[in-house]
Symmetry: C2
Subunit: 273 residues, 2 copies
């Protein structure tokens, strides 16, 4: 329970240019759904733990212009991209820093708020990470956690191969010590980590023919592209044969047609130290 | 495509006392989630198609006291229960009538609104039913449709047996000509039936340890009880053996513990004639 290993393998969330683009697409499409109700008051000290390439950091910083945000990540190359992104958006209220969630270089009770998005899914011991983050919160401080849940995926037309392809994503993530079904677990995880007044709000992405931006931004460029991106790993690990996996990916893209429907749910949770 | 057969087998939604109680529990718990945004103006003529035992009718009538509601069902015994329920609630703005959705005894364009809840899931040809209901709507009239989707179910702790038990529910419903995954299909079904300005709003029931009313009212008494209720049929049809099914049901009830989570999504759709 002590040390978290390397950042997640690029099986699931790599740091390739394509992957960066996908994460960016995702944040642009989902920013309102996930972040519109997160803004910090003037003078608040906020820690974003695991900022990655800054996909959420830009929105946080924009929505809380007078808060002081410290955004940390374990990966230097991600931080370099985050830095460029913040500069391009002329955002000056963020300090970037290289740090491990399991060895945070901050005194206890140094932050008013902690924000964690798409990070716990990669960790072997997410409750332990939450407990560490709780320590750097001031008493009365609030943590905000956002995670997806790949098991919340369903669609029309239904397809056995597409479902299996999504299950492969979960299985690959499990093999690297992560948890693709973590969204539904936020409530018990936050309680287990010692937080009080825990609340969780599901944020469902529902996409049908009347929502062309989400068809493109979510069904195609976020979710189907993410599944397509693990093709090599799925085949290398023998989880599905190439023909079945390709059929599954084709069926996922098929749900982006005018008569298709795609559903996925993120979970946003809060807890008080 | 012409005639709908008998009402659904009691495999899935029977008319036993226990089943009536479950449907009542469900409506009481879910009324706000599903119906709080449905109210009809004074003088409106509203058709509720497939009112069953009146679980939704009471809420509709209460929320639209000056609308004239005609509630029809194909089953006389259900109508008798609906009648008692309306009387017990002193609601006088509902006319009950025995009728088949596929042979409605109403002139074209006779209603301002049509309301259909938990009905399409039982029909072999739901788009055809919607087309018939469209005919009795006045031009500009609006249909409101609510359906569940058993494939939207997921929970924590996850359990293979519990997932299989839920799949049995879908399979049994399919064998009687119904569709337990119809919620996600409302948008294309309404479009296919000729409705304009189709909109769909997912209504997710999210249950965690902080929501004791939903733990009891939904996880236990609505969903887990519904799955438990098909035990005999599952075993008779050889879909699962008794031990595995019982383990699945136990695991469903397990999600009602303080550290458990249960998720299910209903879909509410609208279309304009």
């Amino acid at each position: 329970m002590t040390q978290e290993p390397e950042p997640p393998s690029d099986y699931v969330h790599g740091y390739s240019a394509r992957e960066s683009r996908r994460l960016h697409d995702q944040a642009t499409t989902l920013a309102e759904l996930l972040l519109s109700d997160t803004a910090y008051p003037p003078g608040a000290r906020v820690l974003e733990a695991g900022c990655g390439i800054g996909a959420q950091t830009v929105t946080l910083a924009r929505q809380s212009p007078e808060a002081a945000i410290v955004a940390v990540d374990i990966a230097l190359d991600s931080l370099a991209q985050a830095k460029r992104k913040l500069k391009a958006n002329a955002l000056a209220n963020v300090t970037l820093q290289c740090a491990d969630i399991f060895a945070l270089p901050f005194a206890p009770a140094s932050f008013d708020h902690v924000f964690v998005c798409f990070v716990l899914e990669h960790l072997r011991v997410p409750a332990e990470a939450l407990a560490r983050l709780r320590e750097v919160l001031k008493p009365g401080g609030v943590i905000t956690v956002i995670e997806g849940d790949h098991g919340s995926t369903y669609f029309h037309p239904d397809s056995l191969e597409a479902r299996r392809a999504v299950e492969c994503l979960v299985e690959l993530q499990a093999r690297t010590g992560g948890n693709g079904l973590i969204g539904r677990q936020l409530y018990p995880l936050l309680v287990q980590a010692g937080f009080a007044d825990v609340r969780v709000s599901p944020r469902m992405v529902y996409v049908d023919g009347s929502r062309p931006e989400l068809i493109d931004g979510f069904t195609r460029k976020t979710f189907s592209a993410m599944v397509e991106g693990v093709r090599g790993a799925v085949i290398a690990e023998g989880l599905m044969d190439a023909a079945a996996f390709d059929a599954g990916v084709r069926d996922l893209y098929r749900t982006a047609a005018a008569d298709g429907v795609f559903c996925y749910t993120f979970f946003k949770g809060w807890g008080v130290r």
